[in-house]
């Protein structure tokens, strides 16, 4: 029904409004992406001056050993774990922001939450390095308050990667959940409570279902980039920080095997799209 009006008048009137966005998308995403797709089927880069020809070798390389699938699996797991922690941390924060705090305090906390957005990613990661390493801020602080000696060296470990990524991406969940929670009328929550529902029952049966679109949007927003992330794993993970994303990065900046890097990227894209497509019906039902 909603499309009825548009189809009667045709898309014509909307064209001037749509054109800039689509032009931009074409230039900024479609063109580079097609170039990459093109590269992924080549033996050498045309710019290198060497002879080149079309090949499927680069895609075959992914399946030639256990290395790439294992790394992809590790990255997918990383994506799930980071998404899980972000939702777990971000949702309560969004709830407090949307439903508990008021006025000035809310604005101040909100600012703190989105601050990571405004700071440079590298600065953020290196400051975590200062906190997490042995003799770093966390180690020193804990030893200062605890009566016994503890040795905290989280640097170059899987938890360090998780911590760095969760910190970078949790604002997405806070924002998307804040928006959906804000839209829930307080009287709905009061109605549930007046009907005898405890706080927990109200959360489970009313607030979570109503906030589901925000949780899902936040989850997808996080999962996709985390699976391909390379900066946090490289800097905070060190030797343990080899993931699918870091291998792709290597192909581009260290090995200069762009065709392989491009092919690996497209495999990642395909896998993520398949996962989202499979999850879509489930997620839609959850909404």
């Amino acid at each position: 029904m909603a499309t009825g009006g548009a189809s009667r008048r045709g898309i014509g009137p909307a064209l001037p409004l749509l054109a800039p966005a689509y032009l931009w998308l074409t230039v900024a995403i479609f063109l580079p992406l097609s170039a990459m797709a093109f590269f992924s089927f080549m033996t050498e880069l045309p710019m290198s001056g060497k002879d080149w020809s079309f090949t499927l070798e680069n895609y075959a390389a992914f399946f030639s050993g256990a290395l790439y699938p294992t790394l992809l699996w590790a990255s997918l797991r990383l994506g799930l774990e980071v998404t899980f922690w972000c939702l777990l941390i971000g949702f309560p924060a969004a709830y407090v922001l949307a439903k508990v705090l008021k006025g000035r305090v809310r604005e101040a906390i909100f600012l703190l939450v989105i601050l990571p957005f405004w700071s440079n990613g590298l600065v953020r990661i290196f400051s975590w390095a200062m906190v997490l390493r042995e003799g770093g801020i966390l180690d020193t602080a804990l030893n200062a308050v605890l009566p016994f000696k503890v040795n905290i060296d989280l640097m170059y470990s899987y938890p360090a990667v998780i911590i760095g990524l969760v910190h970078s991406y949790v604002p997405y969940v806070v924002l998307t959940c804040y928006l959906t929670l804000q839209a829930i009328d307080d009287s709905l929550i009061e109605a549930a409570r007046s009907l005898g529902a405890s706080r927990l029952q109200t959360l489970r049966r009313l607030i979570l279902p109503l906030a589901m679109p925000g949780l899902i949007a936040g989850g997808v927003l996080i999962f996709v980039p985390v699976v391909g992330s390379f900066m946090e794993p490289r800097i905070l993970g060190g030797r343990t920080g080899t993931f699918y994303g870091t291998v792709i990065e290597d192909q581009f900046v260290a090995v200069f095997n762009w065709p392989l890097g491009a092919a690996l990227s497209f495999i990642l894209l395909a896998v993520v799209l398949v996962i989202l497509a499979v999850a879509a019906p489930v997620l839609r039902r959850a909404q």
């Binding site: 009061e190 109605a191 549930a192 409570r193 009907l195 005898g196 529902a197 009313l206």
Partner: protein
């Protein structure tokens, strides 16, 4: 079912006292209307009784249990909200079932109870619909069914009809009253519509600035307002100022108005009396005969508004305008500028200190 006793409940927001030592007994099975101008504390009091907010001091007793520190989900109350507050993610039946299901009732019991409640509000066939597929009146009925299906001890309604248009509102008033009688539940109803309060309730409490200024049956409050505020807030009233004298009032022009003998203000003090417009008879000056027992004032018709079955006259007398409501029963009509005499009985005159 249960009675509700509110004793000396005070609640302040900052320096502002939204409720100031309010004490009310809401009788078991009664329909009690809380009436008052905007900001008088009606919602605040209702939310205290519901348990959404706690009093600074004072006690709230439901069915003999002190509940002022009991959280809302343990109070066994039913509440209907002004904006209905139906859960958008659930069907009508699931909305109604919510209270029973969080309590852990068996599925079969829930289905039976839900159907009974929906039948009671005459929505038996709409259980599968979503709230957004209902009209305003139907949503209100669902909200009511949802609130009563758990058999709460008290039903609390905060201006439940104010979002409905006039015709639907009258229908819902009748419906609400029927349902309340049928299940005999103690009901507390907040409104600032005086007509709604008069027609629906057995008792009315008038709040003003966080204080209870008067309470009683609709007739008591209408016939014997305790203050100028109560007289003008509930219904229409002519207020005549003067000084207290005997058991009446001496107006500025020297006329003595006799009043009903109630608690009298101190002699010689400034006072005023209230007379309802429909209690005053209006007669042409030429035919008016003096009757020592009745109050009378001479005046001149300033304006007449014809409204079919009734006419309203505005009469200039004793230095002010007096409103008179007359049934159009075939008596000769008076025109603007006619000299008239107004006459009403002392029984219809309520005196209070001002």
């Amino acid at each position: 079912m249960a009675d509700v006793r509110v004793e000396k409940v005070t609640r302040s927001f900052g320096a502002h006292k939204a409720l100031d030592e309010v004490s009310i007994v809401f009788p078991d099975g009664g329909f009690y209307a809380l009436l008052g101008p905007s900001g008088s504390g009606k919602t605040t009091l209702l939310r205290m009784i519901a348990g959404f907010d706690y009093p600074d001091s004072g006690s709230i007793v439901i069915d003999g249990d002190s509940v002022e520190r009991v959280p809302v989900d343990k109070r066994r109350i039913g509440m209907v909200f002004q904006n209905y507050a139906l859960f958008p993610n659930m069907s009508v039946a699931d909305n109604v079932a919510f209270g029973l299901s969080v309590r852990g009732e068996a599925k079969a019991t829930i289905a039976v109870e839900v159907q009974r409640a929906l039948d009671l509000v005459q929505l038996g066939k709409l259980g599968e619909r979503r709230p957004h597929q209902l009209s305003g009146g139907q949503r209100q009925r669902v909200a009511l069914a949802r609130a009563i299906v758990t058999r709460p001890r008290v039903l609390l309604l905060d201006e439940p009809l104010s979002a409905l248009d006039k015709a639907l509102r009258v229908d819902m008033q009748v419906e609400l009253k029927r349902i309340q009688r049928e299940i005999g539940i103690t009901t507390i109803f907040v409104t600032h519509d005086q007509e709604e309060a008069l027609t629906m309730s057995d008792r009315i409490g008038i709040l003003r600035d966080g204080r209870l200024v008067q309470e009683g049956s609709p007739e008591e409050i209408y016939d014997s307002p305790a203050s100028e505020f109560a007289a003008t807030f509930l219904g229409d009233a002519n207020i005549l100022p003067g000084t207290a004298e005997g058991n009446g009032l001496r107006l500025a022009d020297g006329t003595l108005v006799a009043a009903r003998s109630t608690v009298l203000p101190a002699q010689g003090r400034a006072a005023s009396c209230a007379v309802r417009p429909e209690r005053i008879a209006i007669l042409p000056a030429a035919v008016a005969m003096l009757d020592g027992k009745e109050n009378s004032l001479a005046g001149c018709v300033a304006k007449r508004i014809f409204a079919g079955s009734v006419s309203t006259y505005f009469v200039d007398c004793a230095g002010q305008t007096v409103k008179v409501l007359v049934q159009n029963a075939g008596q000769p009509r008076l025109g603007e500028g006619d000299d008239v005499v107004l006459r009403w009985s002392p029984e219809s005159t309520v005196l209070f200190a001002s």
